[in-house]
Structure formats: structure tokens, C-alpha cells
Amino acid sequence: MPNMSPKKIPMPEQNPNERIKNFLEVALGYTEEMAVEEAQRCLQCKHRPCMSGCPVNVKIPEFIKLVAQRKFLEAYEKIKETNSLPAVCGRVCPQENQCEKVCVRGKKGESVGIGRLERFVADWYINNVHSKLDVPEKNNKKVAIIGSGPASLACAGDLAKMGYNVTIFEAFHEPGGVLVYGIPEFRLPKNIVKKEIDSLKEMGVEIKTNIVIGKIYSIDELMAEGYDAIFIGSGAGLPKFLGIPGENLNGVYSANEFLTRVNLMKAYKFPDYDTPVYVGKNVAVVGGGNVAMDAARSAKRLGAENVYIIYRRSKEEMPARLEEVNHAKEEGIIFNFLENPTKIIGTDDGWVKGIECIKMELGEPDLTGRRKPIAQEGTEHIIDVDSVIIAIGQGPNPLISSSTKELKTKKWGGIIIDEDTGATSKKGVFAGGDIVTGAATVILAMGAGKKAAEAIDNYLKNNN
């Protein structure tokens, strides 16, 4: 008999008053008992709407059934069939817009906690299984993957499973892309990312760090070195600024810089680690996406007393996950909706001392379907802050496209691909993730990486 409780088993979490003083993970994860109980809420629908909501086609009802039967290892193997990074996805996927959105249980009450169960299974495996994965038999084909974020890792995982010799090239000193430089420790612990990457290495994926493709090797040089196909998953790493006066004052950060200092370089452990970060007493974070939430919550943990999210539309239009917004609220982040910065004000010696904002009203829907914010003249006001973090999005990094002539890009820099295969305008070169779509989610990037892996397999079977 399924468990007919209308509500999910609640996720145990660190108390907000405690967690704002540390960078430890907020959500603590299900116990075995909780997981089994939650798994019993799944109705095992024949038509599996949840699976169609998953960009990497996790066999959701099957793995949940295995959890209900306490067959955790088998459940892990079931997820791993299609998903290379379950411990990551279980934490950062917007399940509410994907699998859980279409879950039948969600019609009357709450959907099954699919993400929580995925996380439980992945963590159970990490904590309990220490045997190595089977290494697939290798064929004689080589694939180069540029970047080591979610699109690249998903692509690498699938290609390795098919027997390809996969080499990942990463510009930073550590692999993981946005999973290590962008998403904070308290939402995605870096040892979890490391474990997932280690499991790819066990499968034979080679990772070369400190290699900036576009500088040290061009795409053509990689091909000349004997790579039969190339996947570009170099992400959306180019920070956008507001273009308002005062943006170069000391104390103004792009969210990329702020988060990279904190996450990748571990500035939250300064001076034990050498990289510093400046926060001050009052912080303004401009933007309403997940990156803005991550920056705001990090600033709070670094000791800021007042952290303001400044967003030009209202709560309804915010692109951030509801769960993240709620976490931020619990932690005392102040939301200034319908406000837009007009300038950043500095002290005589060039440090931030305030941000001038103007009130906005929502007008008619724009091209994105969201109501367009309109400035209300004469409503300018100043908020006293010591630092400003700009989190209004990132563009694709142009390093590779600008150094590869045949690679066609859109006006805003995204690489143009065939939607079905991920093939670019250059033969043997595929692309996916944020470098194609602009900044999106981890799971969409993984879906693109997966699709490209399949297309690369087809390409290499038919062209050689």
C-alpha cells in the first residue's frame, strides 16, 4: 500500500540562526527511514509523467521502488544509468519545475520528494560503498571536452561509459566549473562534487587542469593532436555589469568574482587560505536569480549585518528557486522588490558608501512574457551599503569562439548548434550548456551534454 500522506517528509535542515554563522550544508538529507517512507508515496504510475520532466531521463519510478524496498545500491545503479552526477542533481536541480511539477501526487497535495530521494541514494552510495566502479572497455577513439562544468561532466560520463577515451581540459586549477566556483558550499559541498568527479576518473576520464583552450591550444590543434571529436562546454563565464556610474568603485563585485573568491578560493577561511574577500557591514546584491541568492547568503555568512536583494520586478517574476528564496528569507536577507540601481556612490577615497535606487512599477508583458518594469521618476533614494554585488547574469565566454573561425555564434555570443545533436558549424565539434543557451541550470546543461554524447557516438561510428 502506498503511503497516502499528502505531504512530503520534511527535509531536516540546519537552524537559520545557526547556519548563518557557518558554511556547512543547510539541508541535512533524509535518513534511511525517512527515505523509505517518502519512497512509499510514489504511486508507480504506468505512464511515468515524472520521467518526461527530467532532462537526463532518470528512471524515477524504478529507482524509487528500489528505495522503498531498501535496495539502495540497486537504486543508485538505476539512477547512474542515465545520470552521471546524482548527488549534485539531488541538491541543485529545480525539481519543482521538472519531475516534481508533473508528479501525479502533486495534484492533491505535495509531489513525491524525487530530488530528496535522489540525493539520499547518491549520499548513501558515497557513504557506504567504497568499491570501484567497473571500467568500461575502451575503444580507440579520443574525445576532447572543453570545460569541466555540468554539461562537460555529463558528456564525459556518457562517452566514457560507451568506451571512448575522454580528456577534459579545465582552465582553473580544479575541475567542476560552476559547481566549484559558483554554487556555495552550504548548498553543494565541494567534497560531494569531488566524489562525483572521482567516479568519472575511475571510469577512465582524464582531467587536465590549468589548460586554457583558445590560448594554449586552438580547437584545430586539438584535432591535429588526434582527438576525433570535441565537445565545448565552457559555460557562461562572462560577467555582466549594470553600466551605471560607480561600478568600478572599490567594493563592487561581479557575482562571479565574489563567489569565486568565496567558493573556489575559500576566502571564507581567510587568512588560513590566502585569498581575501571584502564584505563590510551592509551589502547590496543586485539581481533576482539563484546566483543573487547564493551571493546574498554567502555575504550574510561572511558577517554582513544587513544584506539587501535589489530586484527590479516583483517576487512573482524572480527567476530564483522558491526554496532558495525561502532559505534566504529565513536567514534574514532583506528583499527590496521593484527597485533598480541608478548609481553607486563612493567615498572620497573611492570606496562604496551607498547605492542609489529608483522605484519601479510593472507595465505590460515584454518579449520574455514577464511584465516590464518601468522606472518611477522622482523616487530615487539611497541605501547605505559598503559593498555591491552585481548578479544580473553572465554571458558566454568568448575565448574559444573568438579563436575558432569556423565556429558560428549568435549576436550575443552563444555558439550556434543543431538542436537535436549539439553539432556546431565546425565538423566534429559539438557544444552544449550555457555556452549555447546563456546562463541556465545545471540540469539543462547536463541534458545538453548527454545529448551531445549520443550525437558524438553516432558521428564517430558513421564517419570513421
Binding site: V212, N248, M265, P271, D272, Y273, Y278, L399
Partner: protein
């Protein structure tokens, strides 16, 4: 891991190291930079490439021991390794056809000026080098620079060697004497590059400066290295590090350079305490 294959002490504060990194040595060009990280807890620090040897596979860096990271690097010896070394980053210097150039290096900037002078010299340009230091004990690369210059001028602030005064004094004199430079390259402290740019502006001599702001990734990702050039925001790591000296907002750059002064002091103090403790033990 990257091995230090050569270490030379140039003066009491400045050291030279050849790092074995054949893939970088193969691609490096004058004007580009690398980022190093000594160990797991270290900062990513950008340094301009001072020289490279494609056959030996080495990249030369010259650095002043200012912060914790450069002190840690300086404490290492030949045969030791550093954890990370990535490059070549940034855009290589583009000179075009230059008949006569003045290459001006202030202090450690002489190390950055050297590959530029060497390159121009190899292209057949008449090269005048002007290198300036606070006093005679701090002079570096005098012989190396001489070898790639048609004329060399050395200044010291206190007159303990060469001409007493600043590099700008010599450059001004040379220009006024009728030397027709079609390019001036200035590398060194921001204040010195600003002074050179201000000097050459009325003469309308093309002036290239090499910016070395605070950065993390060096690939255009963090935007920490932004510099205002001709009213536009540029990223020194991918748009530079070379810029038109007449267009750079130096005052802003100087201010941004000091962003972490307090943190640096804290970091160095802690480092010295540790070193001190080690010595006493």
C-alpha cells in the same frame, strides 16, 4: 606540479625563476602573463612573462616579494615545485612596424620591459631602453637590457648609479633632443606609467602600458581586473594587459590596486609569525 629549474636572486627584493612548463613556453609571446599558485591554500597571482625558452621548455618569471604568495614562492629553490602555473594569458603585444622605440621600465617593470625590448630589437627597431630604480642596489637586468638595446640609460632616484632622477626625466630629454620615437612602451608601477603617458601625450607619441591589476581567473570570468580605457570598461586579462597609456584611467587603477591592502597586511603578518615560530623552534 611545475618545477623550478632555475632561481636567481636579482636584488634584495626581486627574484627570477625559470619554471618548466613546455606547453606554455611553446606558445608564450611578449606581453602575455601567467597565473601561479604555490600551494593548496594559495592565491592565484598573475605575473607577466619575463622571458621564455621554447627548446628548454621554460618560462621565466621575475617577481618582487611583496605579499604572502610571492614570499612563499621566493622561499622555494631549484628542484622544488609549485602547484599551479597557467598561461599564456592575455593578448600578446602588437607592435606593427616601428622604426624607433623607447622602452621604459621602472623597478620590477624592467623585467616586463625586457621581452618587449628583445622582441623590438629582433624586428629591427632602433631600441632605446630607459630603466629606473630607487638606488644602485636595486638595479636588475642591466646587462640583459643592454644586449637588446641600441642605447641604454639607467637612472636611480638617489643618483647612486647612472643618471640621478626619474625615467621620465631621461625620456623627456631624449625627446627634446630630437629623438623621433614612434612608440614608447612603459612598464612598471602605475604612478610611473601614468607619468610616462602624461609626458608623451603632448608629443603625440603612441604609448603602450602594461597593466597588472588584481584578478582571479585570468580568462575574463571574474571582472576583478576591470580598467577604464577611453571611458570604456576593459578586462585587463583578456582585452590587455597592454593598453594605450593615453586612454587609461590611472587614478582609478591605483585606487583599485589598493583594495586588499588591509587583508594583505594581515596575511603577511600571519605568514611572518609562522615563519618566526619556525625559526625559534
Amino acid at each position: 606540479m611545475f618545477e623550478i629549474v632555475k632561481k636567481r636572486i636579482l636584488n634584495s627584493q626581486v627574484k627570477l625563476m625559470d619554471i618548466y612548463a613546455p606547453h606554455i613556453a611553446k606558445k608564450a609571446e611578449p606581453g602575455q602573463f601567467i597565473i601561479f599558485r604555490v600551494n593548496e591554500k594559495g592565491e592565484r597571482v598573475p605575473l607577466t612573462i619575463a622571458d621564455f625558452h621554447r627548446e628548454k621548455g621554460t618560462v621565466t618569471i621575475i617577481f618582487q616579494e611583496l605579499g604572502k604568495s610571492t614570499k612563499e614562492l621566493g622561499a622555494l629553490n631549484e628542484g622544488d615545485t609549485i602547484l599551479d602555473f597557467v598561461g599564456p594569458l592575455g593578448v600578446a603585444s602588437e607592435f606593427g612596424h616601428v622604426k624607433k622605440a623607447a622602452v621604459v621600465g621602472g623597478g620590477l617593470g624592467a623585467a616586463i620591459a625586457y621581452p618587449q625590448a628583445k622582441k623590438l630589437n629582433s624586428l629591427g627597431t632602433e631600441v632605446h631602453t630607459i630603466i629606473g630604480f630607487r638606488n644602485k642596489d636595486l638595479i636588475i637586468l642591466e646587462e640583459e637590457m643592454k644586449a637588446v638595446s641600441n642605447k641604454q640609460f639607467v637612472t636611480t632616484d638617489d643618483g647612486s648609479n647612472g643618471t640621478k632622477g626619474f625615467v621620465t626625466d631621461v625620456l623627456k630629454k631624449l625627446i627634446e633632443e630630437g629623438n623621433q620615437y614612434d612608440l614608447v612602451i612603459a612598464t612598471g608601477p602605475l604612478i610611473m606609467m601614468k607619468a610616462v603617458s602624461n609626458l608623451t601625450r603632448p608629443y603625440n607619441i603612441k604609448t603602450i602600458v602594461s597593466m597588472n591589476p588584481i584578478m582571479i581567473d585570468g580568462t575574463g570570468m571574474c571582472g576583478g581586473c576591470r580598467v577604464t580605457v577611453g571611458g570604456e570598461i576593459k578586462f585587463a586579462c583578456v582585452d590587455g594587459p597592454d593598453f594605450d597609456g593615453h586612454k587609461v584611467d590611472f587614478d582609478e587603477a591605483i585606487r583599485r590596486q589598493n583594495m586588499y591592502k588591509k587583508h594583505e597586511t594581515e596575511s603577511v603578518t600571519k605568514h611572518q609569525c609562522k615563519l618566526g615560530g619556525g625559526n625559534n623552534a
